[in-house]
Amino acid sequence: MSVSDLIGALDAIPKLTTVPSSSASAQESVFLDAPEWLTEAYLQDALRKYYNDRRLKITWVKVNPALGKGENYGGVLTRVKAQFTRSDGSAQLGHYIVKSTFEGNDFAQKTMEPYDIFNREMEIYEQVLPKLKALLREIGDTEQIFAETMAVDIENSSLIFEDLNARGFTMPDRLKGLDMKITRLVLRKLAKMHATSAVMNERENHALEGYDRGFFNRYTDNYAPAFVGMLQAATRRVAQWPGYEKYAAKMEALVPIYMELGKRIFDISPGHINVLAHGDLWTNNVLVNYDKETGEPLDAIIIDFQYTVWGSPALDLFYFLNTSLEFDLHKSHQEELIAYYFGVFSETLKKLQYQTAVPSLHQFHQQMLEKKFYAAHTSISVLPIQRNVETDNADFNALMETNQRALNFKDACYRNPISERVLRELLPDFEAEGLLDADQ
């Protein structure tokens, strides 16, 4: 089910009837499954701050959940539609997304705590992304890469954004891979984000290098049950296929060293070019605007900066290319796409007069190759989560726990024919490159 379908279904629910208020509008405010602090008063306050208009008044508000199960493991997304009047009397309809933490799930909160994802995302939206945007403006580039932030609420650990959905942006179907056009569009945005971040870091005396808590980091192994659990589920599946015994054996032998191999990818390699990586760049963290008539993709926006981390561009490139693409691109066109990305990346660095040495394209490929274990990890252990269709038990707990429900969830991920095809066709390539070896 796509996000648009979900919204359509929710919109079809009959509205609550209440005692008519003194409001001139016929519509009433509706709050469905919203965080308890998300009230009309709260929203009015936020809008007043954003528009710098103390006499702004909300006429009505409609609030409902934005995503379904299996669509997001990183928190709660709430869609807000608000009709309001400005101090000059004009009426306006605003669309927003409110992003807030999980509530009432102790296990999830405890598990995620050392990754500090909510604080990080707020900090990034408040302090970093606006500067990246400014850097692009400096060279006359007006492309929008991120969603516009309306409000950052540290107390409630929440962010309010413009709702890009209202501007015609939708999430591509996570079950289908992205085609060449959209992929290049995303890579172009990513390259500009990376380049501006490298420049910002240089100008601001290494200010971004403190972001060192990505999926694999040297502080915590809390996500190990997810990553190693998925590897083990993959191994169980692969062991069933005739002719794949040797791959299953190698995958099994990887278990004790798997987290360490992941951490090495996130470690800073001397002499490599580093950037502020998005950290979780996949289909569901990209919104695309399609032409209404032709259906051609026109623009793409990157969202969700919870796992932002300073490190190799490989962190985003291998993650994105190995989770989100059409099969043929995934298997046979990654090098070409990396070359495309690098063209935009290096050109942007040059325009911004980046002072540190920029690698040649061939040197960049070599830097990526050093980190290529991440391509194997992502294809084997991450893609199957994202393409999962058995969504009844698709939640954070199922991903992170090791009980029977969690095992069942992970096994279900590998029953998916797309996951199966990726493993069947890519495992031999990874093996031939030594990426399944414990002593790589």
Binding site: E335, S360, L361, Q366, G434, D437
Partner: protein
């Protein structure tokens, strides 16, 4: 055909045999001398076939022995070519390697119980006349494969096994002899001379000229034109050994005509291979030999699509042999680390594909001589242009130039 050298007499050969068999009273009973090769077959020397019957002096043997020999001598080039080629010192190098290096490599492998023959034995080395006398492998049933049809996986695996052992043993020899092989620094790209640029840059430009006329390839042609002035420098950097890597005595010129195969009489399958011709050996990355070999001598689609498996096959024998021989000077690379070195040296794959292979698979004998290859004159340019009219060469470039371009290997600023 080049005539046999006039000093190659009964007396000379008798002396050579006496020296090899350590028998001053050895006598020749029958001697046949004939030239061995035709034009376009090899630019590396004059080969003469010698068939000799002889008797040892003791014990009192009634029976005659028969030995088949190949005599390799320097080409009697024109002065200009001699001057051009002098800095590569190919004849001295090959003599030293046959005399001093290869026997030691064979001993090293013997240490771990590996008795596989990798190269032919040199019976006699003559520094004055710049000649090496070998056992004639063709009589032992070894033949050269077809350089135009190229090699399949079976043939390739045989070569890779020998090459891996050769490389590994050389790394160990160098370690034990505290750097004795590191002085070999005059491969095709070296810091002493650019003499091969007539061939290399000339070939690159001929390729660029052809590509400029093909709409889909014109933009790559532009890049090759821009690359030309930097080409020799980039090649030189590629040949530099990287500290910390396992470097080896690279063969330097591994291709179809520098190996000889033995076939099973009944099944027709190749059962053995020997490496020959060590004129361009140098100390450096084993990946350079592999890139050259794969991109000059493999059938398609083996070369285009199946190199991964070949690198893996080579690496497994290379690292295993290093381990067995207790190599410890540098960390033995894992397969992934080795693949990174393969990528680091991939300029040479581009070079081998675009510049070298068209010469190796040419069937056009017009102007096919060393002079036309090495020179930039009208004849040299015409010869090289003709190489790129070959439809096989054109297909290869259509398929592979975009591949190398994506890797950034057509860029001026690539630095190996």
């Amino acid at each position: 055909m080049a005539a046999a050298p006039e000093w190659l007499t009964h007396k000379y050969i008798e002396h050579a045999l006496r020296s090899h068999y350590k028998d001053d009273d050895l006598t020749i009973t029958r001697l046949q001398i004939n030239p061995a090769l035709g034009p376009g077959e090899n630019y590396g020397g004059v080969l003469t076939r010698v068939r000799v019957n002889f008797k040892l002096s003791s014990p009192k043997e009634e029976k005659e022995q028969l030995q088949n020999l190949i005599v390799k001598t320097e080409i009697d080039d024109d002065e200009l070519t001699q001057e051009l080629m002098a800095p590569y010192d190919i004849y001295n190098r090959e003599m030293t390697i046959y005399q001093e290096v290869l026997p030691k490599l064979r001993d090293l492998l013997m240490e771990i119980g590996d008795t596989e023959k990798i190269f032919p034995t040199a019976i006699f080395v003559d520094r004055e006349r710049m000649a090496i006398i070998f056992e004639d492998l063709s009589v032992a049933g070894y033949v050269m494969a077809d350089r135009v049809r190229r090699l399949n996986e079976e043939h390739t695996h045989l070569i890779l096994r020998k090459l891996a052992k050769f490389h590994a043993a050389s790394a160990v020899l160098n370690e034990r002899e505290k750097g004795s092989l590191e002085g070999y620094d005059r491969g095709f790209f070296n810091k002493y001379t650019n003499a091969y640029s007539g061939y290399f840059v000339g070939g690159l430009l001929a390729a660029a000229r052809w590509m400029s006329k093909v709409p889909k390839l014109a933009h790559y042609g532009e890049k090759l034109f821009a690359l030309a002035p930097h080409y020799m420098d980039i090649g030189r950097e590629c040949f530099e050994p990287t500290a910390g890597h396992v470097n080896v005595l690279a063969h330097g010129d591994v291709w179809t005509n520098n190996v000889m195969f033995k076939y099973d009489q009944l099944t027709g399958r190749p059962v053995d291979v020997l490496l020959i011709d060590f004129q361009y050996s140098f100390w450096g990355s084993p990946c350079i030999d592999l890139h050259h070999f794969f991109n000059t001598s493999l059938k398609e689609p083996l070369r285009r699509d199946q190199q991964n498996g070949l690198f893996q096959f080579y690496h497994s024998i290379f690292s295993e042999t290093l381990k067995k021989l207790d190599y410890s000077q540098n960390p033995i690379p894992s397969l992934h680390q080795f693949k990174q070195q393969v990528e680091q040296k991939r300029f040479f794959a581009m070079h081998s594909t675009v510049v070298v292979q068209p010469v190796m698979i040419s069937q056009d004998p017009t102007d096919a001589c060393f002079n036309a290859l090495m020179n930039d004159d009208e004849r040299g340019i015409r010869f090289k242009n003709r190489l790129y009219t070959n439809p096989i060469v054109q297909q290869n470039l259509q398929a592979l130039v975009p591949f190398f371009d994506r890797k950034g290997l057509l860029e001026v600023d690539q630095t190996c």
